[in-house]
């Protein structure tokens, strides 16, 4: 690990002021030394130890829990502070009762130790587990070194993505919770270093790899995530997260599905569908939703929706099994959600 300067501001304003020192001003020639916010550290310190990330400054935002560590629920929706720990949200009574897919996506992620440390803000920004990205001894990785190629295309890639990939990068977004935020149409609250606040759809946080897989989000330099807002709907209560892993517990998804249904007498009034484990970014399956709306939900309709969700899938050697795994996961999740008492 390379040395860094460690800062621990006591307030949001102080954190933003520190971040501002590391953001390039218009017309400034010198590139400022990169700074990163340190939340739970479970992804950032990992990447620093393995030599993939080398920030010159860590801005420890643990103290911002005071300001951005609350969970609040009312009729119109759920607010989650960015510094809420995964374990706290996973066990909150309102989340368990009214947003079961959110609770499950967190309970089924990582281990209790990691969930006690990791924050929701850090969770959505976790980086891919692609082996070649995580091992700097591999010379070809467009995400780590733009223009160097992609070792995964013809390599070990059974964990990697089949939806949203490009000819430059097939990395998967490995998280769980973010797929639920995407499916539920959540919004994200942000603060720029100059204090400007903005709220954007969560689906606009992450970018598809395209020709620039090293640019992963639409965040401005130094922008801080302060929280998430999930609008309530009939589909949030009748919802679930189904995660398929190589081992039964404590593993990343090979495939996962978020299903939220507004169901009346067996007919889908509105569906919210998300996918994980095989997607390039947190994924809302709009085509599958369209295939379900207005339909009586039986196996044939579920299979048609799953087919629509994967119609654009692209596979590379080892990961050829993933579209079928993904379709089966979604069909099972749809039928389970239809059978829920909600």
């Amino acid at each position: 690990m390379r040395p860094f300067s460690y800062q621990h501001p006591r307030s949001t304003m102080a954190a933003l002021a520190l971040a501002a020192q590391h953001v390039a001003r218009p017309g400034e020639a010198r590139r400022p030394a990169p700074a990163r916010y340190l939340a739970g550290g479970t992804n950032l310190l990992d990447l620093m130890k393995i030599g993939v990330d080398h920030p010159a400054t860590l801005i420890d935002i643990a103290a911002l829990r005071q300001e951005h560590g609350r969970i609040e629920a009312d009729e119109s929706g759920l607010s989650l502070g960015a510094l809420v720990r995964m374990a706290e949200a996973a066990e909150h009574p309102a989340v368990l009762r009214d947003y079961p897919a959110i609770a499950q996506s967190l309970q089924l992620a990582a281990s209790q130790q990691l969930r006690n440390m990791a924050t929701l803000g850090g969770n959505v920004l976790q980086r891919t587990r692609c082996n070649y990205f995580r091992d700097p001894s591999w010379p070809a990785c467009n995400k780590r070194m733009p223009g160097s190629g992609c070792a995964a295309m013809q390599g070990v890639n059974r964990r990697l993505a089949v939806l949203g990939v490009s000819e430059h990068c097939i990395a998967h977004y490995p998280g769980d919770f973010a797929n639920v935020l995407a499916a539920f149409g959540a919004e994200l609250d942000l603060l720029a270093p100059d204090g400007t606040a903005r709220r954007i759809p969560f689906e606009e946080l992450h970018r598809l790899p395209g020709g620039t897989p090293h640019i992963e989000t639409n965040l401005q330099p130094g922008e801080l995530i302060t929280g998430f807002r999930v609008p309530a709907g009939p589909w949030t209560r009748r919802s679930l997260y189904l995660k398929i892993r190589d081992r039964d517990s404590y593993d990343f998804a090979q495939a996962s599905a978020v299903v939220g249904l507004d169901l009346q007498d067996g007919v889908v009034r509105e569906a919210r569908i998300g996918l994980g484990g095989l997607v390039a970014k947190p994924w809302r399956a709009h085509a599958a939703e369209a295939a379900l709306n207005g339909q009586r939900l039986d196996r044939a309709v579920a299979e048609a929706a799953a087919a629509a969700a994967f119609q654009d899938a692209v596979t590379h050697g080892e990961n050829a099994f993933k579209p079928e795994l993904g379709r089966r996961t979604l069909v099972r999740a749809l039928l389970q959600a239809a059978a829920m008492e909600a």
Partner: protein
Amino acid sequence: MDVLLKVNGTEHRLAVDVRTTLLDALRERLELTGTKKGCDLGQCGACTVLMDGRRVLSCFILAVAAQEAEIATIEGLAGENAPLHPMQQAFLDQDAYQCGYCTPGQILSAIACVQEGHANSADQIREYMSGNLCRCAAYPKIVAAVQQAKPLMEGS
């Protein structure tokens, strides 16, 4: 940089490189070698300690960032001549280890698992202890040890 760590009720002032993890500070500087280093990358649970009562991985915490917390390690569970903690005794009684390398992390994780209310069935114990790997695969006996200690910890 100078840091002040509160470990097992005792304050320690020490100068560390900013990169030092809590795990390395405990083992290399405070000579509290009960906390083990397995993977050093958050994957095995051998480095589990309690921070303000919550189980966490000390390999993913900077020593400088641990200064405001009460840290508990395996060394602090029982005094020199005092009886063992019920979880330590249960691991002995159930023979819940072979080489013992993962055991301190297992015991601290198991104590937290009971305190969190996540030890209500064998299945739940397996799920909530899954962050502690055991190369010797003592898993069935670890589950039995947690089940033995739980009523004693809850004073019933």
